[in-house]
């Protein structure tokens, strides 16, 4: 590592001499693709917004939640590795830190959503602001002490404050270690990670209540936060896997660092959270279906009637059945390239899931629809994420090579 110090920081793209302590990892290509996506997404979003601001709000929510899940889920992944002092993940933890880094951008990008949702009286994305049906009125009356505009704003600010602080804490702590390799930094992150994990549990639950469940204020489900958490962790793991594969293939991470043992651990987590999501999603459905109470079933009747049943069945297959069998074999979980392909499918599943959560509230009895109004914001937010990733790559090394557990992680063996 250190004998490569004479190599210039801007290492060539091909034939990597594995200069782990490099201060730059390139990222120009990522920035270019991100910029392209952002520009294209922004054009589509602009057209969508000028044509139908209300529908655009729903699409914006999908795009926001998609990248939010990757970013916050990655922060959860990083904190979890610190809390458990995991050895296997040290060689790839920087990928998670990189994906968690744009948290502050998400806070900024939430502002337009909050502004239109709260100031524009014509938007219907948060119906609890101006309930139209008798049932909604009753629900909002009962839940008013929680579900009101000032409470929404205060909680949102609090969520982002917590997430931004801990993103800074974990990412900058790890980056600082690149310089001197101070062991106390790891110790400090390990000590504070359980505090974040507890706060994470609460903030994810209430943020998913506020931002997604309150799209249907007359409905409620206590497992909703867990459902969103399952999808979030799954998409973060998928994004980390794809990032790891691309970084390794382009030599930004020395190929010999990431072996089958590391990949298998990542694949095991992907498999576990696929099952977790299936378990939670079915639990939520079965209990509501079995009890058959109108105030609960409204959520599923909306997603089973008027052509939405096909989307619901497709979701069960895309999110659970297909990835389950794809991830079952040991050989697949050992192969980073194949795992990255499955991860792309899992991210697609997350998009279908978010569409299924959000869009029935817009289309309702008109049946499912899809247009540039929904695709635009997803491209826009993905572009923002890629731009942030490209910027991170330009400034930092892709491996936390001064972590005290780094050597042990290189030697990591399963069983």
């Amino acid at each position: 590592m250190s004998d490569d110090a004479t190599t210039p920081a801007a290492a060539p793209d091909a034939t990597p001499p594995a200069d782990l302590s490099a201060t730059s990892s390139g990222g120009g290509k990522v920035t270019m693709i991100g910029g392209g996506l952002l520009a294209f997404g922004a054009i589509l979003s602009g057209i969508a917004f000028s044509q139908d601001g209300n529908r655009f709000g729903f699409g914006y929510m999908i795009g926001f939640a998609f990248v939010w899940a990757i970013v916050l889920g990655s922060l959860f992944f990083v904190a979890l590795q610190h809390a458990t002092s995991s050895v296997w993940s040290v060689v790839l933890r920087r990928v998670g830190e990189m994906l968690a880094s744009p948290m502050i951008l998400l806070a900024i990008l939430f502002i337009p959503l909050a502004l239109t949702a709260l100031l524009n009286p014509e938007t219907t994305i948060f119906p609890w602001r101006n309930p139209t049906t008798e049932m909604a009125e009753h629900a909002v009356h009962v839940k008013g002490s929680y579900l009101n505009e000032s409470g929404f704003i205060i909680r949102t600010l609090l969520f982002f404050a917590i997430w931004i602080f801990f993103t800074w804490f974990f990412v900058s702590g790890s980056l600082k270690q690149d310089g001197g390799g101070k062991e106390s930094l790891t110790e400090r992150m390990r000590r504070f990670s359980p505090i974040f994990l507890i706060l994470f549990g609460f903030t994810v639950t209430f943020a998913s209540f506020d931002w997604l469940m309150s799209l249907e204020p007359n409905w409620f489900s206590t497992i909703y936060g867990v459902y969103v958490f399952g999808g979030m962790t799954l998409s973060a793991l998928a994004a980390i896997t794809i990032g790891l594969h691309l970084l390794k293939r382009n030599g930004k991470i020395a190929p010999e660092l990431i072996r089958g043992d590391h990949v298998y651990s990542l694949g095991g987590l992907l498999f576990a959270f696929t099952c977790f999501w299936g378990y939670i999603a079915f639990s939520q459905f079965m209990l509501i279906w079995y009890a058959n109470m109108p105030e609960e079933t409204v959520y599923f009747t909306k997603r089973l009637d008027h052509g939405w049943g096909g989307v619901t069945v497709a979701l069960a297959f895309i999110r659970f059945v297909i990835p389950f069998f794809m991830l079952l074999s040991r050989q697949t979980k050992m192969n980073l390239g194949r795992l990255a392909g499955i991860s792309a499918f899992i991210l697609f599943g997350q998009l279908v899931d978010l569409y299924w959560l959000v869009m029935p509230n817009y289309f309702g009895a008109d049946g499912p629809g899809l247009g540039y109004q929904e695709i635009g914001p997803v491209l826009l937010f993905s572009g923002v994420l890629l731009l942030a990733v490209g910027r991170f790559m330009g400034r930092h090394a892709m491996v936390a090579s001064k972590d005290p557990g780094f050597e042990a992680s290189k030697q990591f063996h399963l069983h």
Binding site: F282, F285, M286, W289, Y290, N292, L328, S329, R330, H413, H415
Partner: protein, 184 residues
């Protein structure tokens, strides 16, 4: 001594690295009936011995799928065919209500098949092995590691096996004989 039947040759090693080197050599020579004995799991020994992946996962998934299908069929037959009772205004065959039991039967069958399959594949039931009667087993289960070349292997010959183990630097090579009471 020499009139007793030779069942194999064991080469003893004191460290895992030389054991792995020896295992690779034996594997490449083409032996099929041979084994390694170690007092603790040795990383990389599977590859060095050229062991094929176990068929266990296929046994597990097959048994699991059969168990799940049987459970679902059992509940269908009981609640929709043999003794239909209308519950909660739902159809007789209300499959979502049957999913938990189906899942549990899947796990039960898969688990039992895994255990049974493990016992069969590792030949756990075959009590008699000439190695059991040999003192050298005491050594390879406490402090040393051994490569055993079985006399039943087509390539086996007492001298060639000795040479092979000597080539990989084994200092302690012993011939294993069948127990006295066993007929040759």
């Amino acid at each position: 001594m020499s009139d007793r039947k030779v069942v194999g040759i064991i080469g003893l090693f004191d460290d895992p690295d030389s054991l792995i080197a020896a295992a690779k050599k034996v594997r490449d020579t083409g032996y099929t009936k041979w084994d390694c004995h170690t007092p603790y799991p040795v990383h990389g020994l599977d590859d060095a011995m050229g062991l094929k992946p176990t068929p266990m996962p296929y046994i597990t998934i097959t048994a699991g799928l059969i168990g799940g299908a049987l459970a679902m069929y059992m509940m269908y037959w009981m609640s929709a065919v043999d003794y239909p009772v209308r519950i909660g205004g739902k159809p007789y065959f209300s499959w979502p209500a049957f999913v938990p039991i189906t899942f549990e039967a899947f796990v039960l069958f898969a688990g039992l098949a895994t255990m049974g399959g493990m016992i069969v594949l590792t030949k756990l039931g075959s009590w008699a092995s000439p190695l059991h009667d040999n003192d050298v087993m005491g050594e390879v289960t406490s402090s040393r590691m051994g490569v055993v070349l079985d006399a039943d292997d087509e390539k086996f010959g007492e001298d060639s096996a000795r040479d092979l183990l000597g080539e990989v630097g084994c200092q302690d090579i012993r011939v294993l004989y069948a127990a006295d009471d066993e007929e040759a």
